[in-house]
């Protein structure tokens, strides 16, 4: 009990310190931290439209994070999530551009293709690891760059707009690929929202209550003894990569369908890396994902507002995120020391 309290105290201490350092940074550049906070809060929650922006950021971030929970549970560092999102986006874009069908068929097709693309790209990282011993971090980083180049190839090559190529974007998707919105005020898509919530619940339950979840955890804790106990570690590892890739692919599909309605360079926009932070923050517990992801989405959506009003750049959000994780790691380390000392006494 006491240990828990110490942990809680240290975690909140870390958050306060991170916010404090950010406030200090802001005042160093002659802005009032309170103003910034107010503007950011307004930017995220003032009305339905701004709240929609938060949700539209939350959906891909949560999908990617929940996927990462799966790979982390299996003890895998799927840095390739960004690439899996990009390939998902590219696959969904193909359908958005060329697959002529009514909306009811087209949009699910986009999502499905995105999931398949992401899954295959994730599988590639898994195969590289299992068959060739390429550590998933290096494989993932390389695959991220390759995926980004593939996206740029399609944008400036085969899918360039008829009026001539620019490296900026493909032509807009067919009208049928426009995501229906809930209302004028709430500009997010119900289907994606349901998929996201479904993914959280499904993965959470799968990890807790099924054999698959158990084997994932066994492999993550100690792959060798899992193997000795008869777990097919290779298959489990591969399945983790594929599930994560599929979720990342759906996130990528959401990015192109919702944010741009066309394929642009780096469609994932760093959300994959942000998802890594989310998952590190919650030390891989699925149920916490939606809340932390929401907080980060609000910070980011808010900081775009800060940018336009106060001329402070939104990269500030990046600084804040990095600081939060960093201070929490440091404070965790301190708490570890403290609790360990207690045991000695």
């Amino acid at each position: 009990m006491r240990e828990r309290l110490i942990r809680l105290g240290f975690t909140s201490g870390a958050l306060i310190l991170a916010l404090g350092v950010t406030a200090l940074l802001i005042s160093m550049f002659d802005h009032s931290p309170i103003d910034v906070l107010e503007t950011a809060w307004d930017g995220a929650f003032k009305d339905g439209r701004r709240f929609s922006a938060v949700v539209n950021f939350w959906i891909p971030l949560t999908l990617a994070s929940i996927g990462l929970v799966v790979t982390f549970t299996a003890g895998l560092w799927n840095i390739g999530i960004e690439g899996q999102m990009i390939i998902g986006a590219v696959c969904a874009s193909w359908a958005g551009l060329y697959f002529e069908a009514p909306s009811v068929i087209l949009i699910p097709t986009c999502i499905l293709l995105g999931a398949i693309g992401g899954m295959l790209w994730g599988m590639l990282a898994g195969l590289l690891k299992l068959r060739f011993g390429v550590h998933e971090i290096f494989g993932g980083v390389a695959l991220n760059f390759i995926a980004a180049n593939i996206a740029i190839y399609f944008i400036s090559g085969p899918w360039q707009p008829p009026e001539g190529g620019s490296a900026q974007s493909t032509p807009p998707f067919q009208a049928a690929a426009t995501l229906p919105r809930i209302s004028d005020d709430l500009q997010f898509n119900l289907l994606f929202l349901l998929i996201t919530i479904g993914a959280i619940i499904a993965i959470g339950l799968l990890l807790m209550f099924t054999r698959w979840g158990l084997t994932l955890r066994a492999v993550g804790k100690n792959a060798q003894s899992a193997l000795l106990l008869g777990v097919r570690t290779e298959r489990v590892t591969l399945s983790a990569f594929m599930v994560c890739g599929a979720l990342g692919g759906i996130a990528g599909a959401h990015r192109v369908l919702q944010a741009y309605s066309s394929l642009r360079p780096s469609p994932a926009g760093g959300i994959g890396f942000l998802a890594l932070l989310v998952v590190l923050l919650i030390s891989f517990r699925a149920w916490w994902v939606p809340f932390i992801a929401f907080a980060l989405a609000a910070i980011i959506a808010g900081s775009t507002r800060v940018k336009t009003l106060l001329q402070l750049d939104q990269s500030l959000a990046g600084v804040l995120q990095g600081l939060i994780v960093l201070t929490i790691l440091i404070f965790n380390g301190l708490a570890d020391r403290l609790t360990r000392k207690d045991h000695h006494e």
Partner: protein, 440 residues
């Protein structure tokens, strides 16, 4: 049949050789022995060639002094025929089911030879019917290899003492940004290149600070070293982007970079002089760093201790070596070196800072380190290979090779993966790498 690495690479070379062979045999009339000509540059090279209608790839080695310039004319078809036969031979032999150790070694060596041959072959095929300047090609390989090789040295210092460092990327980026920021602050008050040198000093120091953070987290707090590295990478990305928008955009920064100089006498050596002895300061420091790292690691007491700490910290501790202190110092030195690699981007090459301008070089450096099996010279060779494949990029565009640019730009990463996949043999990391040391 069991699918082994040898099997896969043999198939690859068999296929590549087969395709090349088919292409070459369609133009049998062009098969001639190769010749080398020494010609002044202004003479049109094709004049020297007696057999008309033969496609040649001309590799130019120009020199300021015309009498030292020469061109290497290679009949493309004959060359590709020879290479194709070699590939097919190596590939076929690789598939022969011989299991004894000697045969296996021959197979491996053959595959490595074929792998090395890919480099000139790609270049010669790309230059078919054209000429390409080899001096600038080699120079670019070394230049582009510089941050990779320096980064790999940073990795060696860290990892030989048993601390995984995937944060090299972040340390480089920090160095690049803060070095440039420092430069913009002082450049007005310091004439000439002095500002740049101060920038380099700040870059090195800021890399060291990031490394201090890494050491603090992973050595003192025993945080997972990969988590710590990832956080530093992400942190660096955010922090430098913020710095750029808030500080650099407001400063009227010029696009000045460190100036080039030549080492007297040595730079007069044909070919080598221009490739190795003409360049900018950080480029030269690369050679120094490789040698220093090698000497440190294998010829000093500190190096012996570092290796002991990286292989078996418990034994080292028993012998009275302070494991924590050793790791701290090595990680920080690694960070200082990574900061220098960062300065290469902003102060030696671009004369500015872009968000994420290191674009994965830190990770490529780690791949080069693994390629070199954690030895300085091996890592340098790896870095050079990656530098070459990046230089190939621009070369392909100059030669109008009909391959989309994006695919060419993937080559360094593909090479990285092939290297990591272990064509060069299983890499053996320091034994204790990645494990925090718990004193009992």
């Amino acid at each position: 049949m069991k699918i082994t690495r040898t099997f896969i690479f043999s198939i690859v070379f068999l296929l590549a050789g087969g395709l090349l062979l088919i292409a070459a045999l369609q133009r049998t009339n062009e098969i001639v022995p190769y010749r080398m000509t020494t010609l002044p540059q202004h003479v049109v090279p094709s004049v020297a060639f007696e057999a008309p209608g033969v496609t040649t790839s001309i590799l130019r080695f120009p020199n300021e002094d015309d009498s030292l310039s020469f061109n290497l004319e290679i009949p493309t078809v004959s060359y590709s025929l020879i290479v194709a036969l070699l590939f097919v031979g190596v590939g076929t032999y690789g598939l022969v089911p011989l299991q004894n150790e000697r045969a296996q070694r021959t197979k491996t060596n053959g595959l490595i030879l074929a792998g090395i041959l890919i480099i000139p072959t790609v270049l010669i095929l790309a230059a078919a019917g054209q000429s390409t300047n080899m001096i600038s090609m080699l120079g670019a390989s070394f230049r582009l290899g510089t941050p990779i090789i320096i980064g790999a040295m940073a990795g060696i210092w860290c990892e030989r003492s048993g601390v995984v460092n995937i944060a090299i990327e972040g340390m480089m980026l920090t160095g690049a940004a803060f070095g440039f920021v420092a430069y913009t602050f002082v450049t007005a008050s310091i004439p000439g290149q002095g500002g740049l040198w101060i920038g380099i000093a700040v870059a090195v120091a800021s890399g060291g600070l990031m490394a201090l953070l890494h050491a603090w987290l992973s050595v003192t707090f025993k945080t997972d070293q990969i988590i710590s590295g990832t956080v530093i990478n992400i942190m660096a990305l955010g922090l430098t982007a913020f710095m750029r928008r808030e500080v650099i955009l407001n400063a009227d920064a010029s696009f000045e970079t460190l100036s080039e100089f030549s080492i007297p006498l040595l730079s007069k050596i044909p070919v080598l002089g221009e490739v190795l002895f003409t360049g900018k300061p950080i480029f030269f420091s690369m050679f120094l760093l490789v040698i220093l790292t090698h000497v440190m690691l294998y010829y000093t007491r500190w190096g012996l201790r570092t290796r002991a700490v990286g292989e078996n910290p418990h034994a080292a501790d028993t012998l009275g070596i302070n494991v924590q202190r050793n790791r701290y110092i090595n990680v920080i030195i690694g960070g200082l070196i990574a900061g220098l690699a960062g300065a290469w981007f902003s102060l030696e090459t671009a004369g500015g800072f872009r968000d994420g301008m290191t674009s994965g070089t830190g990770f490529i450096a780690l791949a080069a380190m693994i390629f070199g099996k954690w030895t300085p010279f091996g890592a340098a060779a790896g870095g050079l290979l990656f530098g070459f494949s990046q230089a190939l990029d621009t070369r392909f565009q100059l030669l109008n090779v009909p391959i989309p640019v994006q695919f060419v730009q993937m080559t360094p990463y593909l090479v990285t993966m092939i290297v990591l996949a272990g064509l060069v043999g299983r890499a053996t990391a320091p034994k204790a790498v990645g494990q925090p040391y718990e004193k009992e």
